[in-house]
């Protein structure tokens, strides 16, 4: 109990610090400031897009992971969880070396199509997806492994082909796992800083998400940074609570 209380305090105290230090008279001005709206909008766009991309790529990845065994599985698992242990800044450098103008993939893209990924909103989305997708994959894979295989077997025996089994049985049964994975993924993407600043850079309206805006503001106008953080916090809480009701009905 005491340890649980200590754990909770570790979360609550910094939050209390933010709220105690918050210049409440500035909240209004900060809220209507175009920079805030721009950064907040960009943050929501990037994090939600990253979550959508993670869903599209991550669920099939989790399926493959849950169906492999042995050494291959170990290797695949390690690869997918790598971004979780890699310092995000290193992740950003790695992304530059892969998708940058002179990177592995980026170089041909640039030469053939004149595409440049770094310093674009796409880069911010890629950075967030890179860092956040493992949370979704791990959650969905866990859900798949604990799924009673007889549901899928029953569906097959009733004449459903692989696609119908997946769409009508597997996917709906995985919904709680997908939901919690997507929430974790989205939260991680929303707070992403290191990989974004390294890979996507920092430009208001294009790649400056709220965490970057907070970092810049912290050094020039700390009060504004605190207000920005609180806004981010409030928006995430509102979305989490709203989604919970919509997706899971009564908890």
């Amino acid at each position: 109990m005491a340890l649980a209380a200590a754990g909770l305090l570790l979360f609550l105290l910094p939050l209390a610090g933010l709220i105690a230090r918050a210049p409440w008279n500035q909240v209004g001005t900060e809220l209507v400031a175009t920079e805030t709206a721009t950064a907040l909008g960009l943050s929501l766009f990037c994090s939600l897009t990253a979550t959508a991309v993670a869903l599209v790529l991550g669920i099939p990845l989790a399926l493959v992971l849950s169906r492999t065994t042995g050494t291959l599985r170990g290797v695949l698992r390690a690869l997918t969880t790598l971004p979780m242990v890699l310092p995000p800044v290193v992740g950003g450098v790695a992304l530059l070396l892969a998708f940058g103008r002179s990177g592995l993939i980026g170089s041909p893209l640039h030469q053939l199509f004149g595409l440049q990924i770094p310093f674009t909103t796409t880069a911010a989305v890629i950075a967030e997806t890179f860092v956040a997708m493992p949370f979704l994959v791990i959650a969905v894979e866990g859900g798949l492994r604990s799924l009673d295989s007889r549901y899928e077997e029953s569906a097959r025996a009733l004449g459903a082909n692989s696609w119908k089994v997946f769409a009508r049985v597997t996917l709906p049964l995985l919904r709680p796992a997908i939901f919690s994975g997507a929430v974790l993924c989205w939260a991680r993407a929303l707070g992403e800083f290191g990989a974004t600043i390294t890979f996507a850079g920092n430009l208001p309206g294009r790649t400056q998400t709220i965490p970057l805006a907070v970092y810049v503001a912290l050094e020039t106008r700390p009060d504004g940074a605190i207000v920005l953080s609180l806004i981010l916090l409030a928006v995430s809480l509102a979305i989490l609570i709203g989604l919970r009701d919509r997706w899971l009905g009564a908890p």
């Binding site: 009673d148 549901y151 077997e153 029953s154 025996a157 009733l158 004449g159 459903a160 009508r168 709906p172």
Partner: protein
Amino acid sequence: MSLHAVIEVERGGFSLDIDLTVEAGETVAVLGPNGAGKTTLLRALAGLVPIAGRVELDGDVLDDSAVGRHVPTEERRVGIVFQDHVLFPHMTVLENVAFGLKRDRSRVARGWLDRSGLGDKAGVMPGELSGGQAQRVALLRTLVTEPRLLLLDEPLAALDVSVRAEVRRELSRQLAGFTGIRILVTHDPLEAIALADRLVVLEQGKVVQTGLPSEVTARPRSRFVADLAGVNLLRGTGKDDHIELDGGEVLAAPESGEGDVFAVIHPRAVALYLARPEGTPRNVWRARAEDLDLRGERVRVRLSGPVPLVAEVTPSAVRDLRLDAGAEVWVAVKATEISVYPA
């Protein structure tokens, strides 16, 4: 329409090796102790487990490892009903029943539900059904797809004893209207006898006995079946008018034939006495009552001694004989009460 299956499955030290033929319209009950391979057999027939061998249903070759043929489960038209219904929890009863239908799904499914007296449950989620209702829906869900082969994996085992009889009746009614082949896995002899035309007894991955329920229970060929039928099974060598049991004892029995034989003694034919009985019975020995078990109107007494047997007596006999665990008694078995048949 008939099924012919030669199936070999090898998996982690366990092996299933079966040759099974089932005729059109027949219900076969596969009986066997836990781990005998009953469920593996069903899964193999459903195409859910890779096999070596050949499975032919209604002239269609579903599996033939010799030519690398394997028809996937979804194309076999083989229905499988699991022990605990496995209804899709995110769909209503109607959606569950309609799942395997191709056209006019809702109307057809509703028709089946209505005919089974489950029409009022159409909009209900499976979680709100009782165990018996859920199992009936699960059976319907499979029957609407008109499978050629229906596989039932212990369909009543997960149900409360109180509803089992009702669901068994329903099951029996549904099966009667079903024209395909039915294979029922169970470890409940009552279920097997009530629902099946023929029993197949499986032990350690092999068929040890097959036949009509009455034949199988009358002439058990394994300890498992003898226990199911509630009879004593002994094995020995027939010597015309007596049997030399594997334990070394000699049992008088007429027409024992020659060679390896089974001998079945019904527990009611095992008579118990306080003093050595006089008269005709030639099979008399002293034994010890190990434990007593009240079964309805009778008491089953497990005896140790030269020939370990179970006797069935009336409660008043227990009183008269002052029987209790550890009591010494005389045992007599009339030679004519012993049924002997070749092993």
